[in-house]
């Protein structure tokens, strides 16, 4: 397969489409930024699609070009890991709506020659999945050995099983949910309002000028709290104060500097985020998440989404995840049971809350490894 420029890191393709979106619009062309690792077997049976979360990207196991950080899921994907490019052909693509090279509000609207901004159509999780399906057609992958994802990536894996059951042999759904709850939507609305309240947002038409960095940073700060557990925050920061010159243990400023370490940490998270993410993409992807309700797409009964699905499922939740708590995974498991689908589920213990799936989780690796090998 050497010499085939469809495969490798930092790939980009412009597909003619059109992609019919759930909102009714046609998207054309469809740009997709993606990476592949490993070699596709002659029979195409070793392809695994890895789906990223809200602010993730296609650099799942390679260095991020902008931040220089290693791939975001190298704990799960790499030599000797449960997903191993020596054995598996791994695909990870940037979701549409995002800002890392796939079609999104920052990409150029062919009708105007200018960035889409808020004229970009609202997209859904299923639209992201359909775009991935088009990418697989382009890559010549008829059927996936597995779709694997955490958080929003898990929703894509579920949507894959419901949308293209004949194209997916197994789904790994980690720290995820089949629908966004009122609380999930509420947190996202805080983030969106923070962005839209930033005067620099300009109705989304800020490209070429200054982006609404302050609003986006606040959105990120609020969201970041939901990714961590209360116990984790307490352990990491407690009520400790920031060190200042001459005051190693810190001191209260009796002002509004970042006195507490947790404040400083959140501000840092916010600032680091605006360097790598587009505010409008944040609006569009959080919208897609809020619209996600797999049962609603199937007559109100989640089991109907998986009726007669030939797919094996593996779900993992974490006991301190209050963003997508174990009860959400259990609801999916019940629906899969009702549909007669082969399903495995385990709730793992971790102090890290929702973020646990991205961190060191040896039990998660053991489960995913066994599950993926069990399908051979």
């Amino acid at each position: 397969m050497t010499g085939d420029d469809r495969f490798g890191c930092n790939r980009h393709v412009t597909l003619p489409g059109p992609l019919r979106l759930d909102g009714g619009m046609l998207l054309s062309p469809v740009e997709i930024a993606y990476e592949t690792y490993g070699t596709l077997d002659a029979d195409g049976g070793n392809a695994i699609l890895v789906c990223h979360a809200l602010t993730g990207d296609q650099h799942v196991a390679s260095e991020h070009p902008r931040t220089g950080k290693p791939g975001w899921w190298t704990r799960l994907i790499g030599p000797g890991k449960p997903i191993d490019p020596a054995r598996d052909f791994v695909i990870c693509s940037n979701v549409i709506g995002s800002c890392m090279g796939s079609s999104g509000p920052a990409s150029v609207n062919p009708a105007t020659g200018r960035p889409w901004g808020m004229a970009f159509p609202v997209i859904t999780i299923r639209d992201m999945v359909r775009a991935q399906g088009m990418l697989l057609d382009h890559l010549g992958v008829a059927r996936l050995k597995a779709v694997v994802g955490g958080s929003m990536g898990g929703m894509q894996a579920l949507s894959w099983a419901a949308t293209f059951p004949e194209r997916i042999a197994a789904a790994v759904v980690i720290a995820s949910t089949a629908r966004h709850s009122a609380q999930n939507i509420a947190f996202h609305e805080v983030g969106r309002q923070a962005i839209m309240a930033d005067p620099k947002w300009q109705g989304g038409d800020y490209y070429g000028g200054e982006p609404p960095a302050a609003g986006l940073a606040v959105a990120r700060m609020a969201a970041h709290i939901t990714y961590l557990s209360e116990a984790g925050l307490t352990e990491k920061f407690g009520r400790r104060l920031q060190a200042r010159p001459g005051k190693e243990d810190g001191t209260k400023s009796f002002g509004f500097d970042a006195d507490f370490q947790v404040e400083s940490y959140l501000r840092h998270q916010g600032l680091a985020f605006v360097d790598r993410f587009d505010a409008n993409s944040y609006l569009y992807i959080t919208r897609a998440l809020d619209y996600f309700d797999l049962a609603e797409e199937h007559g109100g009964l989640l089991a109907n989404a998986f009726r007669d699905a030939p797919t094996r499922f593996c779900l993992v939740s974490f006991d301190t995840d209050w963003l997508y708590p174990t009860s959400e995974s259990r609801a999916i498991v019940q629906a899969l049971n009702a549909a007669g689908a082969p399903v495995s589920f385990v709730e793992l213990s971790s102090p890290y809350g929702h973020d646990a799936f991205l961190l060191d989780a040896p039990e998660m690796n053991r489960v995913v490894d066994g599950f993926l090998k069990g399908g051979r």
């Binding site: 498991v333 399903v343 589920f345 385990v346 066994g370």
Partner: protein, 195 residues
């Protein structure tokens, strides 16, 4: 790997190619045997996360859950067999669990340790202490067995509930005991039941 004796009895009497739900499947030893030797489509329910991880790592479909809570979500007659091995006595509501078993499976295998076996009786009668034996190794304070049941208790319960016994096996170690002497001599009982 050799199966525990009650599991070997169950494995030997499950029809080939059937759909099986193993409630309290542990690390999946029985499920793996049923899958590999009898071509069964086996699913499991297990309360302990470490056991679930081990079973999934064997390529089995196992859900972490509690028989007392999670059986309610399984549809009627969705399995040929529902199996409850060495778990009945740990349930908070064993009668309800048994009802679910007979609802979910066309047939049910139930195995449990017999608390009327003579060693257990002697231990309580002469020692005056809650029995700790090879089969029941935990002390009174840390045993998961919260509903002690004897073979005769169980037979009586089945009669009251109108449950049909299709087969019964009584074991001491690997030896089979007669039905008549089972309540005194058998350490374990295995029943094959249907509604």
């Amino acid at each position: 790997m050799s199966l525990r004796s009650d599991l070997a009895v169950i494995a030997g009497h499950v029809a080939e190619g059937s759909r099986v739900l193993d409630v309290g499947c542990g690390d999946g030893a029985l499920m793996a045997a049923l899958r590999d030797d009898r071509g069964c489509d086996a699913r499991g329910l297990e309360i302990d996360a470490g056991n679930v991880a081990s079973a999934v790592a064997r390529g089995l479909s196992v859900i972490q859950g509690d028989a007392d809570v999670d059986l309610a979500g399984y549809p009627d007659r969705s399995f040929d067999y529902a199996i409850l091995s060495q778990t009945l006595q740990t349930a908070r509501a064993p009668d309800v669990v048994l009802d679910h078993l007979l609802r979910i499976g066309r047939r049910a295998f139930v195995s449990f340790p017999n608390f009327a076996q003579w060693r257990v009786r002697l231990s309580l009668l002469w020692g005056g202490r809650m029995p700790v034996t090879r089969q029941l190794p935990e002390s009174w304070f840390d045993t998961p067995n919260i509903h002690h049941v004897t073979i005769d208790d169980f037979r009586e319960h089945l009669k009251e509930r109108g449950v049909t016994v299709e087969g019964a096996w009584f074991l001491s170690g690997d030896r089979q005991r007669s039905s008549a002497a089972a309540n005194l001599l058998a350490q374990h009982a295995v029943f094959l039941l249907r509604r």
